[in-house]
Symmetry: C2
Subunit: 377 residues, 2 copies
Amino acid sequence: MTDSFFFRQIAADGAARRGELATPHGRVATPAFMPVGTQATVKGVAPDEVRKTGTEIVLANTYHLMLRPGAERVAALGGLHAFMRWPHPILTDSGGFQVMSLAQMRKVDEEAVTFRSHLDGAMVELSPERAIEVQSLLGADIAMQLDECVRLPAERAELDRAMRLSLRWAERSKRAFDGSSAGRALFAIVQGGDDASLREKSVRGLVDMQFPGYAIGGLAVGEPQEVMLKIVEIVAPMLPADRPRYLMGVGTPVDLIEAVARGIDMFDCVLPTRNGRHGLAYTRFGPINLKNARHADDQRPLDAESHHPAARDYSRAYLHHLAKANEILGAMLLSAINLAYYQQLMADMRAAIETRRFANFRAAALEQWAAGDIPAL
Amino acid sequence: MTDSFFFRQIAADGAARRGELATPHGRVATPAFMPVGTQATVKGVAPDEVRKTGTEIVLANTYHLMLRPGAERVAALGGLHAFMRWPHPILTDSGGFQVMSLAQMRKVDEEAVTFRSHLDGAMVELSPERAIEVQSLLGADIAMQLDECVRLPAERAELDRAMRLSLRWAERSKRAFDGSSAGRALFAIVQGGDDASLREKSVRGLVDMQFPGYAIGGLAVGEPQEVMLKIVEIVAPMLPADRPRYLMGVGTPVDLIEAVARGIDMFDCVLPTRNGRHGLAYTRFGPINLKNARHADDQRPLDAESHHPAARDYSRAYLHHLAKANEILGAMLLSAINLAYYQQLMADMRAAIETRRFANFRAAALEQWAAGDIPAL
């Protein structure tokens, strides 16, 4: 245990911010990317290898962990950090997004969301208070309020109802969290879908409640990138400058660059690991589908200048073979390579903001990404 | 490249032998266990992690690699050692066993075996000469003759026919191999099923041809352990003492101990990695099925005295969770833990032979294994 939670901004360049989070399990340089450790493991990457990609904080899932192995069990085993052997910061989401995307027979009322577990069919109730309790049992450095996340497109009335419910749940979450926090932090989640006025109402309500950090939820749920960025442009400037801003579930490398340009400090996304398991590599040259036959005889590495040894040492031909043969090692190597690429991108953005050349960095990175892979042999 | 192939015996204790193989890619202490890298990867374990388990030599599969990615392609990419980033010794099997177990529409005649690829349905011919060519293209330190492997139980006439064909194919393999060997070695394969007189005929025929090493094939194909050990007892003493003896496809830890006691020097088996992927851990206390609910709250490691960090550092509760949740990390950790257990068992056997206390070691290991796991909390 080192610090109670705090956030400080170190530098800025336009709307882009360079900062630092302190948590009971260590500090995190922002803008930060959080790999997703859904079930208490970043899929296909051992924790020491996750660390070697440059990762300082991971995300874990309240929904999954409360169902299996169970929050009380994890607490009895010493908490999530010890359980998954990740002694560094952990953020847990509240389960709202997974209830929307995974659970069956979902019923939302004022009190709680009730759903059927996707694992064993049991009926489970998740209230704002229980979501806080679960996250405290897990020992998250940063907990998220329970919210109701609505898939887009959606009717305005539905977005309005869910946003207002999420506001009331934010208040209950805060009441449940305060006093039991031990240096940990609770973030609120801005909702309101793709409707600017609903987003503004959500922000005003949450900022009045004074949270140590604010997330933008309900995006990356099927809307075009321009809609997502428009909402970020509306919401980010309304949030207090001295609190971290977390864009949930985003995104591609280009999404990250564009969102940092608009003042976002934190991200999580399954793309680097999920796409790695399916043979897609993220590189400076854009995404490379290693299942493509053009890599079968290519002796060159993915990127000779990568900071990750696997991107330098293994040939594209071998990675192609592993992906085609569905070998576990392919998922392992590409997941780690992709996380390392994402973390290098974040480090490069942080350096660019510090030296006030973010606009140049952004233009150059987007250009190189758009130009595509170096030509095949 | 270090040495041309040779084998020397360093010590003996009863029938058990302690020796050393030299190959173009390094030396191997025997008795040796070879993890199986079917498709140019030991499933779920990166090559540097394979090495850290104490592994000095791995096996790769001619059948799989000739079909995908293709032997000529691997050769053009610099050979199998470079392709899979395993700069240490490699033994390749000849494909005979996989043709029996995987291929469809198999037709064996004097010239070759013809079969339908399990990948794309293409008809493929594999002759003794082509099996040698493929293994030379791969760059195997130790190649195996093409044989015909028969599933047990089988009629004596069928075993006799396949054994005689394998003898003639041994001769053709040797002719194809000699002169192109560059310090590499070709091993012959004793066949004859569970019939002692056929096994004797096979041994006599092969020993007359003077191979640098001899394998016992056609076992671990469904017969009881006592049948397997009886055949080893008949065959091993008939083989020249100055050549290594390799028992193909074997086996459980108890199989290895019993076969070393009968004079075997080399083994390969998928059990440590395949069972690791299915939640089974090999330990000093016998096999432990981590999917069993009794591990769910067990904070202890698998074996606090293991040489492998993952067996010491992760709790049984976490390994149970990973196995139940089908997480890749569970397969990764248990595959590495199991290989490390196998390699430690081999190292312990080598030390016991050197100090002439193999009988004691064998009795103690079997007793501890039979006693089962340390009691649950």
